[in-house]
Symmetry: C2
Subunit: 161 residues, 2 copies
Amino acid sequence: MGADCHHAESAHPGLEGVALADAVAAAQAQCERTRERLTPPRRRVLELLLESDGPMKAYDLIAAYGQDGEPAKPPTVYRALEFLERLGFAHRIESLNAYVPCKMEGAGHRAAFLICECCGAAQEFEPDFSAQFAAAESAGYAVRTVTLEARGLCPACKVEG
Amino acid sequence: MGADCHHAESAHPGLEGVALADAVAAAQAQCERTRERLTPPRRRVLELLLESDGPMKAYDLIAAYGQDGEPAKPPTVYRALEFLERLGFAHRIESLNAYVPCKMEGAGHRAAFLICECCGAAQEFEPDFSAQFAAAESAGYAVRTVTLEARGLCPACKVEG
DNA sequence: GCCGAAGCGTTATGAAATAACATAACTAGG
DNA sequence: CCTAGTTATGTTATTTCATAACGCTTCGGC
Ligand SMILES: [Zn+2]
Ligand SMILES: [Zn+2]
Ligand SMILES: [Zn+2]
Ligand SMILES: [Zn+2]
């Protein structure tokens, strides 16, 4: 995550141990309900995202993919990311070219992010698009999806200035 | 713009002739007021954006840069784009890796886009972020900038389905 | 004129994403 | 079972997007 941040790296820690296993198991269960397959590459990329302290770039995932240090081939990771996004287990942050695991309950929700410019953390939140939708639809548009990414300072980084 | 669209390409036409000259002159005047320099490469890239029917990729600009067909070198265009964004004459659309000229009056405003998934047009609009800001600030965040990109169908493409 | 800052041209490289095609694994019908 | 259709993976190569680094020029204050 944000390498140039002077704050505690663990302010937004990733999952490990039982919490990680539980999250993966929940994804597994969700897949079984919808007849989707959480195959090894998909599971591995999901694990890496869940373990991370912050948004991961695709090539970070590629480098970290093999437990033995062997990198993955790019399509392996990009395909897994496509699947995880489709199922709602992960989100792409456009303004960072990076990916995060979904932290919200329930699939198919609308995602938005608060991105700290100091420590690099990306906090997912539930956006309120009603005003935007109203404006767009009054202009004749049919809105399908909305990307919202706010940048600023997280509470931890704000206090120190 | 959207190459695979069956609709009239000129539904969202670029500027030409006097309108183009006027827009460039307005940017020139704006620069003089703020002691900024609209140098030849910056002016050229702005012209290309204003002439275009829709969002332009950086390498589209690079290819179109020379009136004699000679492409620009990438840094030439990327530096110009950085300047135009800083001054508010252009915006980057993150989800397209593309650029558009600003269509709003007054610099320093917040930009948001309605992007048609059929014809590729990108309509700039003035967003209402009050709900998002309230949510973010109640969570302790200090928001500096917001990126909002909505995708769907423009009025022209909506009617035909 | 001198000097520091800003801008530009150029070469080269790095980072992000996908195309294309062959192989393997599930899964449903017979 | 077996076999055809579909989904997923492995692999190679390429394309697309963006920036680093360096030297030269231009601009504007002193
Ligand atoms: Zn989510
Ligand atoms: Zn922070
Ligand atoms: Zn604008
Ligand atoms: Zn359209």
